[in-house]
């Protein structure tokens, strides 16, 4: 009979199916960051003057900041002068018709299961495909425009809707918010822009697929979503990168704005390359995501399934400004091999009768380290605020770790704040039970883990819940204790 230790070694072998490299001519800025680089990026994108100024301010502010050290993660210092801040496939002037897109790029997305031909796509899902620093193609734009929904890359939005961008960019995550947000504000290259007009329920799921391809290049994605009064939008992002021995930086900023009676549902299935079984390579995913419930009765819901990246540093948050607004955070974070994750949320209760829910499921396997870090803050004037937080950790094997750092700052006595936390292991008894019923060890683990994540998966849009389950299976291929 195999000993449990052997099982772990045998089973912790995952295959990263998206780890290929597309051989394509790229125009890449030489490594290094100075004012000239910031100007060059802005110029390449033919941005309006205000944008350049905004970037330069952010850059100068960034120079005064130091990297945050408080997260429960460990890595060698990053040399920000060794990274290239812009890389784009050659001969590329923003998205164009599909016939003009380099076939190699189409092939890449096809291989990733994201065909960009509209007729091949999942009905009801529009995609913005971002490759390194630029958007390659946004599908269904015309169809969405019929109902007034703007869905395009942020570069195009700066050309076509500069006023909207100027009004909202940085209004939730100010350029100087933190080290990585400031860096992103200075050098961001592409990402998605969404505007849903008053009273419109966006007729399709919107999604952005981020792909890192170039070596030694950072990806600085910027996404801005505005849901005007009484509107609804569901948005999903996915991401993958080639397998490389070097670490690569992905420092994104996502801002969501929900006006009165509006709802935004933002889902992430994060599958950046996690590094190999010795902890070599993988993406550093240092991301600032925040939404503002600006109007009364608005709602922002974050759902994330984080299975990739060598290191994840990410706290999708909600500022509950409007009265009766609702913030939700549903998260599954998995760390296997040597992956590290420090992730959670901030719920800031500002308006009256605001409510927030936090459901966090951390799964650690191999030598993975998984930390939940969350803040529930209730301001003076936020009467009758309610929060429910539940943080569950599942450990597989005895070399991994789970950590919970819940913070609460309550300044209003009418608040009701609840926190529950559990830590469990997949027990030998559970595995034996399932196997005695005829399930293979892999199926048993996958079933138990899926059960553990159920409350989060049910929040994902249908098509993606299936994806997420599969991803979890692949990511866990192997982790049993």
């Amino acid at each position: 009979m195999a000993s449990p230790a052997n099982d772990i070694d045998r089973l912790i072998k995952r295959e990263y199916k998206e780890g290929f490299v597309t051989d394509i001519d790229s125009e890449t800025l030489p490594p290094g960051l100075d004012e000239g680089v910031v100007r060059a990026i802005s110029e390449k994108k033919r941005e309006p003057e205000f944008m350049l100024e905004w970037r330069l301010n952010a850059y100068h502010h960034w120079l005064t900041l130091t990297e945050p050290q408080w997260a429960h993660v460990h890595y060698e210092p990053i040399d920000y002068q060794a990274i290239s801040y812009y890389s784009a496939p050659k001969d590329k002037d923003g998205p164009k018709s599909l016939d003009e897109v380099d076939p190699k790029l189409l092939e890449t997305y096809e291989k990733l299961g994201i065909p960009l031909e509209e007729q091949k796509m999942l009905a009801g899902v529009a995609v913005d495909a971002v490759f390194d620093s630029v958007s390659v193609k946004t599908t269904f734009r015309e169809k969405l425009a019929e109902v007034g929904v703007i869905f395009c890359s942020i570069s195009e939005a700066l050309q076509e809707h500069p006023d909207l961008v100027k009004q909202y960019l940085g209004s939730v995550v100010p350029a100087g918010d933190n080290f990585y947000a400031a860096l992103n504000s200075a050098v961001f290259s592409d990402g998605s822009f969404v505007y849903v007009p008053k009273g419109i329920r966006c007729p399709m799921e919107l999604s952005t697929y981020f792909r890192i391809n170039a070596m030694n290049t950072g990806q600085f994605e910027r996404t801005l979503i505005i849901a005007d009064e009484g509107s609804y939008v569901s948005y999903l992002e996915g991401c993958t990168a080639p397998m490389r021995d070097e670490n690569q930086l992905h420092a994104a900023v996502v801002e969501l704005i929900a006006m009165k009676d509006a709802q935004i549902k933002y889902s992430t299935v994060q599958n950046w390359y996690p590094g190999d079984e010795h902890g070599r390579g993988g993406i550093y995913n240092f991301v600032t995501k925040r939404g503002a419930c600006r109007g009364g009765n608005s709602k922002i819901s974050w759902t994330q399934v984080e299975t990739g990246s060598a290191i994840t540093w990410k706290y999708p948050s909600v500022l509950l400004e409007g009265d009766n607004s609702v913030g939700e955070f549903y998260s599954v974070a998995l760390t296997n091999n040597w992956q590290q994750a420090d992730t959670g949320t901030k719920m800031v209760h500002i308006g009256k009768n605001t409510a927030s829910t936090i459901i966090s499921k951390g799964i650690s396997a191999g030598h993975g380290q998984n930390a939940y870090r969350g803040l529930v803050k209730v301001l003076n004037q936020a009467d009758n605020a309610r929060n429910y937080s539940q943080c569950d950790s599942l450990l597989m094997g005895d070399r991994c770790g789970a950590h919970t750092f819940p913070y609460m700052e309550v300044k209003n006595p009418t608040a009701q704040v609840e926190h529950e936390a559990t830590t469990s292991k997949i027990s030998d008894d559970q595995l034996f039970y399932c196997r005695q019923r005829g399930l293979s060890e892999e199926d048993a683990v996958s079933m138990i883990v899926n059960g553990f994540c159920k409350e989060v998966f049910k929040e994902l849009p249908m098509e993606f819940a299936v994806e997420a389950r599969k991803l979890l299976e692949i990511s866990l291929e192997g982790a049993v204790g």
Binding site: M1, A2, S3, P4, S427, D428, D429, Q430, F432, Y433, C434, R435, Q436, R437, G438, L439, S440, E441, D443, M447, I448, N450, G451, F452, C453, K454, E455
Partner: protein
């Protein structure tokens, strides 16, 4: 169907089974009785293939196959079912989902197609009547928040759905009140047939009032010290296990005068 020869097994270096010989033919129900610590549950777990039990000598052949070489799930697919003494909880996994996955795994092993959702539901509605459970039961997480009786009935439901050729019931009667015991026993009895064998492991004679065994074996100190028909169980009930302990090996009849 099942042939056990000179089986020795130990847990963390301590010998628990010290030479078990047992033959079970198709259609037979064998009861294994014995005091706590006699090795009854160990025997059940060794047959099922649980980790942590080292077989140090002996052979177990099941339908012509060397059982000890097979991993747990293959033994299950070959037709061995263990009704657990303490069924585990699996939060977030519905009873229905586990049953369907298990049944389809076993069908696949036998070269059969997966049952469709409709066929499966039809089957399950049929089987659930056997154990007098409500359908809502199927949608609850496996054993989570179940009472002791519900857990045991759930084991019998799984037995009914998976239709193994050898069912081992490990102390299925423990913790059951008389009504639940009857439901469980009825369920088990309805599953008795020519093709199926059962091994009923129990501490008390009580269960055997309802599930009448063809043979009764008494274990003590890692060995089967006495075998007989159902009357042996009744004698045990009368005299207690001390009777066996005092007179291991030979006791073919109760001691004189009692």
């Amino acid at each position: 169907m099942l042939s056990i020869k000179n089986l020795h097994a130990s847990v963390e270096g301590t010998p628990i089974l010290k030479g078990i010989d047992l033959d079970v033919a198709a259609g037979e129900v064998h009861a294994i009785m014995g005091p706590n610590g006699s090795g009854k549950s160990t025997l059940a777990n060794v047959i099922a293939g649980r980790d942590g039990y080292d077989v140090t000598a002996g052979k177990v052949v099941f339908r012509g196959k060397n059982l000890l070489e097979l991993p747990v799930e293959e033994r299950a697919c070959e037709g061995i079912f263990l009704a657990f003494q303490y069924p585990v909880e699996i939060p977030g996994v519905s009873n229905l989902y586990l049953l369907k996955t298990a049944l389809n795994s076993i069908r696949k092993h036998r070269g059969l197609n997966d049952l469709s959702a409709v066929e499966f539901l039809k089957l399950i509605k049929e089987k659930i009547k056997l154990v007098e459970m409500k359908e809502e039961f199927l949608h609850r997480s496996v054993n989570e928040g179940f009472s002791g009786g519900e857990k045991k009935r759930n084991e019998i439901l799984q037995l009914a759905v998976l239709e193994p050729s050898l069912a081992i019931l490990d102390e299925t009667d423990s913790g059951l009140d008389i009504d639940a015991l009857k439901v469980v026993a009825n369920g088990v009895n309805s599953l008795r047939d020519e093709q199926r064998a059962m091994i009923v492991v129990t501490h008390y004679q009580r269960l055997l009032d309802y599930i009448i065994p063809d043979k009764v074996h008494v274990m003590a100190n890692g060995r089967i010290v006495k075998s007989g028909d159902k009357s042996l169980a009744l004698e045990l009930e009368k005299h207690g296990y001390a009777w066996i302990a005092q007179d291991p090996g030979a006791a073919a009849a109760p001691p004189a005068g009692s």
